[in-house]
């Protein structure tokens, strides 16, 4: 392919048509300054070749020049082989695309619209399809041949371009047979496998999928039948156990029932004998009772008669003793009354004495209060004086200035520093002293004081200044005196600053005199110390309490003393002696206590005697009543005992008859007891146990029978399902399916392995084929003069992975190289790939301002290489440095701004 002309109209910066005609088949240098539209030309080339004319993308809309309503259009004329084509595209407005061929001196349309887009893409070997193709990955081999600005590095190679590269590389090694085998293998593989390598599913699934599904179903069914078969065995065993249990149960039941029958007759005999025995026991009991009754009656009559005689004697004795004791008790009670009165009188006396004993306590209290009041009054007086002093001192302190020592020191330091600075200023000033010999006018030109002076004859005036002082004596001279280099201005600034801070301190302290300030501070400190000392004394006097509280306590004590004095008015004239008062009271009290103890003892004896006599009297009266009552009841009892109307002799006869009857009954009971003992232990317990067991076993047997029925029904149900036969069928089908699946799987695995192995081998081969690209690029690099790179690493995707610097054996990223070296590496690879994909056909190589960092020496080498490549490629070099290519005599130069201007004029 070769581009013959490019024509743009209404295209971005080119509002007017611009045309690059008669492009050279070799090198074309299209130049212009920045913004001249070089990249616009490249962009138009790309869109003419690959973009759909109907595109309405953002980038397409940006093509329209501002303020123009015409659609951006591009027209290319290209030679492909022996044919010449014209490509026409207009975007956005009146969109159109057309491909024409120059045939017999006439442009014949080949395709229009979408078809033209498609055909044009094919012409430029771009990717098929209607999608937008502005991205380099859709440019086909042009993504290797065309390098837009700042995109020299190949960052993505589309699958179709990789195929193109591969086909180019493989063309030397592949053959039709291999291709046919690979295709046939792919065809077989794709019948069974999806592109992701999984077995196909659904309608297109291979037979093995169906077999496996069926196998899963059959295995699930077999699992069910296995479980049922296990249930079958378990049920069978359970039924066997039930039957054995039933048999055992029935055997035991029979034995128990036999024993039950035998025991029943024994129990009947036992019960009869037991009844007889009980009857005899009742007879013995009755006879015994009757005998004992008559025996007791006879005895009771005798005892009753004896007791009546005794009780009558006791009653008579009690009635005689009663009046004597009553007299003794009356005497004792009279004595008790007298002693009680005497005791009361003695106790009253002791109470009075006790009241008299309080006076010595009151006397002591009175004396203590008197002393206390005196002490408190003295302390309160002193405390009042101290309190008044503290208030006075505090007031003084509030009125006193209290400058801080730190501030005074700071003021002192600053004043000394100020003094030093002023001395330094004075010494740094230049002095010009003028003594007039006659009256003269003096103008100060440079001095601290610039006021004009008129000096009378003999008058002396001094001008100060720094670093010079200049004065003018009009009509006479200008005098200039220069002093040392010391800067008086700096000193003045420092002085001013110090004066300001000293002034601030003075304002704060109230004085500029550090000595007087220090004296004030000392005085204030003394006052503070005295306040603290006085407060301490005050606290000591009041023992931490307040003055008011102390005064309240004093008043309270004074009131108490006054109250005692009111009770003992005589103490106001003579001071009482508490010890003497106490001694007198103690002696009186002890005497009274002794008297009371004595009377109390006499009184207690009298009370005790009286009480004893009272008790004796009560006992005696009670005995009398009891005896009278007992006599009465005994008399009644005797009357009842003898109420049968018989005599004592008749009673004795009856007693002997009853004794004989009792002996007979006991004999009969012994006989019945012996017969029961002969029968052994009570059989009724055993019979009850056996009855219970029989009942239990019968219940168990019924339960077993029920369980057996349930299990048998279940088993019969399972038996009717023929589970073993069904399981056998499932397992047979599963075995058959497994065999088929394995056969099918081996077939599929074999074809997968074959395809995979072929692909791996192909990939391996391609890796070796990529080596020539690296080798060719490395050759180009050597020619450019970049020898520090010893090899280039190119990946399976034909992208540069890294470089191996000569000093290192390891692969590193290209970023270790300088910018110029990086662009030379990328250019080398692009040129190497371009040579590969171009094959024998001429192709268009576009390099848009790609060598911006390459130095002149290497650029010269590159130009040599480009010259050689121009044999194979039509090269479009776009640059803003036309001078760099000026030495390429064979190159055709296009000055883009001039072309644009020419057409603009033409258009205007």
């Amino acid at each position: 392919m070769m581009i013959r002309s490019i024509r743009l109209s209404s295209w971005k910066t080119f509002a007017h048509p611009v045309e690059l005609t008669e492009l050279a088949p070799g090198i074309n240098v299209i130049h212009g300054e920045n913004g001249a539209g070089k990249s616009t030309v490249v962009g138009a080339l790309v869109r003419a070749a690959f973009e759909n004319h109907s595109s309405d993308s953002e980038s397409t809309r940006s093509l329209a020049p501002w303020g123009r309503s015409l659609g951006p259009s591009v027209q290319l004329e290209v030679d492909v082989g022996a044919s010449r084509y014209r490509v026409e595209k207009q975007f956005l407005v009146q969109k159109r695309a057309a491909l024409l061929r120059f045939d017999k001196q006439v442009w014949e349309p080949i395709a229009e619209g979408k078809l033209a887009d498609q055909k044009i893409r094919e012409l430029f070997q771009g990717d098929a399809g209607e999608k937008t193709t502005s991205s380099p990955q859709h440019w086909g081999i042009s993504q290797l041949l065309w390098a837009p600005q700042q995109q020299l590095a190949v960052t993505h190679v589309s699958a179709s371009t990789i195929d193109s590269l591969r086909s180019s590389l493989e063309s030397q090694m592949a053959d039709p047979t291999t291709a046919a085998v690979q295709k046939a293998c792919d065809t077989i593989y794709s019948k069974s496998f999806s592109p992701t390598g999984k077995l196909k599913s659904g309608a297109n699934a291979p037979a093995v999928v169906g077999f496996e599904n069926e196998l899963a179903a059959v295995q699930a069914e077999a699992t069910t039948f296995r479980a049922k078969l296990a249930s079958y065995d378990e049920l069978s065993q359970r039924i066997q156990r039930f039957r054995e249990a039933q048999s055992r149960s029935q055997g035991e039941l029979k034995q128990l029932r036999d024993r039950q029958a035998a025991l029943s007759s024994t129990v009947d005999r036992y019960v009869t004998l037991l009844a007889q025995k009980q009857q005899q026991e009742s007879a013995v009991k009755l006879a015994s009772t009757e005998f004992k009754q008559i025996e007791a009656t006879i005895l009771a009559i005798q005892q009753c008669r004896q007791q009546l005689a005794i009780q009558r004697e006791q009653l008579s004795a009690a009635e005689a003793k009663l009046p004597v004791i009553e007299q003794q008790m009356n005497d004792a009670q009279a004595s008790e009354v007298k002693l009680s009165e005497k005791l009361r009188l003695a106790r009253d006396e002791r109470v009075k004495a006790s009241d008299a004993g309080q006076s010595h306590v009151d006397a002591a209290t009175y004396l203590r209060l008197e002393q206390s009041c005196r002490d408190q009054q003295q302390a309160i007086d002193e405390a009042s004086a101290a309190d008044a002093r503290v208030r006075e001192l505090t007031k003084q302190l509030a009125e006193l200035p209290q400058p801080e020592a730190k501030s005074i020191d700071e003021l002192d330091r600053q004043l000394r520093q100020l003094e030093q600075l002023e001395m330094q200023l004075e010494s740094s000033l230049v002095r010009l002293e003028v003594t007039a010999e006659q009256s003269i006018d003096v103008e100060a030109i440079t001095a601290d004081d610039l006021a004009g002076k008129q000096l009378a004859a003999g008058e002396t005036q001094i001008w100060r200044g720094s670093p010079q002082v200049a004065i003018r004596l009009p009509g006479i001279a200008t005098l200039r005196v220069r002093g040392p280099a010391t800067s008086a201005a700096d000193l003045r600034v420092k002085i001013a600053a110090l004066q300001q801070t000293a002034g601030e301190l003075e304002a704060k302290l109230g004085s500029r005199n550090p000595t007087s300030l220090r004296a004030s501070a000392e005085h204030a400190a003394n006052v503070v110390r005295e306040i603290a000392s006085t407060k301490s004394k005050l606290q000591s006097l009041l023992r931490g309490d307040s003055l008011a509280n102390a005064q309240t306590a004093l008043a309270r004590d004074q009131a108490a003393a006054k109250a005692i004095l009111a009770k003992y008015p005589e103490w106001s004239s003579s001071v009482p002696d508490p010890k003497q008062l106490e001694q007198t009271w103690l002696e009186s009290k002890q005497k009274l206590d002794r008297e009371i103890i004595e009377i109390e003892a006499q009184h207690r004896s009298s009370v005790q005697l009286s009480s004893q006599l009272k008790q004796q009297l009560a006992v005696l009266e009670s005995e009398k009543k009891t005896l009278a009552s007992s006599l009465e009841s005994k008399t009644q009892e005797l009357a009842k005992l003898v109420a049968d109307g018989t005599t004592d002799a008749v009673r004795e006869t009856r007693k002997e008859d009853l004794m004989l009857a009792w002996a007979l009954a006991k004999k009969q009971l012994a006989d019945a007891t012996q017969q029961l003992e002969d029968l052994g232990t009570d059989p009724r317990g055993e019979l009850a146990t056996i009855d219970q067991k029989v009942s239990m076993l019968s219940s168990e047997e019924r339960q077993i029978e029920n369980d057996l029925l349930v299990a048998t029904t279940q088993l019969e149900s399972l038996a009717s399902e023929s589970v073993y036969s069904r399981l056998a069928q499932c397992e047979e089908r599963a075995a058959s399916l497994e065999s088929r699946i394995e056969e099918e799987r081996i077939k599929l695995d074999a074809i997968k392995l074959l395809r995979q192995t072929m692909q791996q081998q192909q990939a391996q081969m391609l890796r070796t084929l990529a080596a020539p690209i690296a080798s060719r690029a490395l050759d180009i690099l050597r020619r450019i003069g970049l020898s520090k790179v010893s090899s280039l690493a190119i990946g399976d995707n034909f992208l540069l992975r890294g470089v191996v610097p000569e000093q290192l054996s390891a692969e590193v990223e290209t970023s270790v190289l300088s910018s110029g070296e990086q662009e030379q590496v990328h250019l080398s690879i692009r040129l190497a790939m371009a040579q590969l994909v171009a094959k024998s056909e001429r192709q268009v190589l576009v390099l848009d301002d790609v060598l911006v960092a390459t130095d002149a020496r290497r650029l010269a080498a590159i130009k040599t290489i480009l010259r050689e490549l121009s044999e194979q490629f039509q090269i479009l070099l776009l640059t803003c440095h036309a001078d760099r290519y000026a030495d390429m005599a064979e190159a055709k130069l296009f000055d883009l701004p001039i072309l644009a201007k020419a057409h603009s004029y033409a258009g205007g």
Binding site: A174, Y232, A750, L754
Partner: protein
């Protein structure tokens, strides 16, 4: 004197997963052979038939099979004494609880270990009541002092016999120990006779009447037993009753001609539709002859009832690498060499990978041939 037929292990309803899709045919053949046994009893004019256990494969076989077997047995002209074995023990829900057994005239099920007078002899049956057991089922028999011919009927494993289990163990001299003239036993599927030197009393497995699987040494028979008198050695005659012919072949292929011989062998088989063949192919076979082998296998699978081939031990001869030289250099040549290496490496361990690699190689060979055509 007494003459009877001894059979066992009919295993009716057995599963035959190893016969793949032919399992129903194999099962049906067992019923057919059972009828053949009854027919043989008629031909041999025996006094009775002893079935020494495992008439059925399992308690849960299809109920219609029980009825079919009962029908076959009932057609016997002489009494049939049936012994429950370990596959069909006397258990609840077992085959013997089917009502059909109550209505048969000629068939007597041995329900308990108790002597039974039969035509010309005393029968000592040893029925089994469980699938598994470690007791000698004949231990109860004490027939030494009996004057009449004594015959035992039992099911178990003869100790030290090449069995893989020891359920219901039977001493090798069980017949002698029990004082029996003959002990008819079942469990082992091949015919086997146990005689005790210097003692009367023979024990024998009749074997199954119809072979159950590949590898059974001597199955598919019944025994016709003739006992002249008490204490006299029984005369045993083996009669084939099996319908199906189970054969295991080890075929060695060494030359191209061997394949033709093998093909002829298959073509000349007698009654191939009753034949089940398990064939292990060994030796060398060139890749170019593989299609011919495939054709022979296909033919065998069509004509035989069952034909299973194992060609994993069949390898390409070393000179067969010649075709690899014809493979175009490049991807295909490298692929073929790699697959060949994989097949050889994996072949040492006889793994599946070897089979897959070899199959892949064959596939490449086929595709190449297609491409060159």
């Amino acid at each position: 004197m007494v003459k009877f037929l001894h059979t066992a292990d009919w295993q009716i309803g057995m599963k035959a997963a190893h016969t793949q899709d032919q399992a129903p045919v194999v099962r049906a053949a067992r019923l057919k052979s059972a009828a053949r046994v009854i027919e043989l009893a008629r031909e041999e004019n025996v006094a009775f038939i002893l079935v020494a256990g495992d008439t059925f494969e399992d308690a849960a076989v299809e109920r219609s099979l029980i009825e079919q077997v009962a029908q076959i047995l009932e057609s016997s002209p002489v009494p049939v004494y049936l012994l429950p074995g370990n596959h069909d023990p006397l258990m609840p829900g077992g085959v013997w609880e089917h009502r059909v057994w109550k209505s048969l005239r000629n068939v007597q099920l041995m329900r308990e270990p108790a002597p039974l007078v039969v035509d010309g002899a005393m029968l000592f049956p040893c029925p089994l009541f469980a699938k598994y057991g470690t007791a000698n089922p004949t231990s109860w028999i004490a027939a030494k002092d009996r004057p009449e011919i004594c015959i035992g009927l039992a099911h178990g494993t003869v100790q030290h016999a090449p069995q893989d289990c020891s359920d219901f163990p039977l001493p090798r001299n069980a017949a002698v120990l029990a004082g029996l003239d003959y002990l008819a036993i079942g469990h082992w599927h091949s015919t086997a006779i146990y005689e005790t030197p210097a003692a009367s009393g023979v024990m024998a497995y009749s074997g199954t009447h119809e072979t159950t699987k590949f590898g059974e040494r001597d199955s598919g028979n019944v025994l016709i037993v003739d006992i002249p008198s008490r204490g006299a050695p029984p005369i045993l005659r083996r009669v084939r009753t099996g319908v199906l012919d189970w054969q295991t072949w080890d075929v060695l292929l060494q030359t191209e001609g061997d394949l033709g011989v093998f093909a002829n062998r298959i073509a000349q088989l007698f009654q191939p539709q009753q034949m089940l063949v398990e064939c292990r192919l060994q030796g060398l076979l060139s890749t170019s002859s593989r299609p011919q082998l495939a054709s022979i296998i296909e033919q065998a699978q069509r004509s035989l009832l069952l034909a299973k081939f194992d060609a994993t031990a069949l390898h390409a001869p070393p000179e067969d690498d010649a075709w690899l030289d014809q493979v175009p250099a490049g991807v295909l040549r490298d692929t073929s060499e790699l697959l060949r290496a994989q097949a050889i490496a994996a072949g040492a361990s006889k793994s599946r990978d070897a089979v897959v690699a070899e199959r892949a190689l064959l596939e490449l060979f086929r595709l190449l041939q297609d491409a060159e055509r």
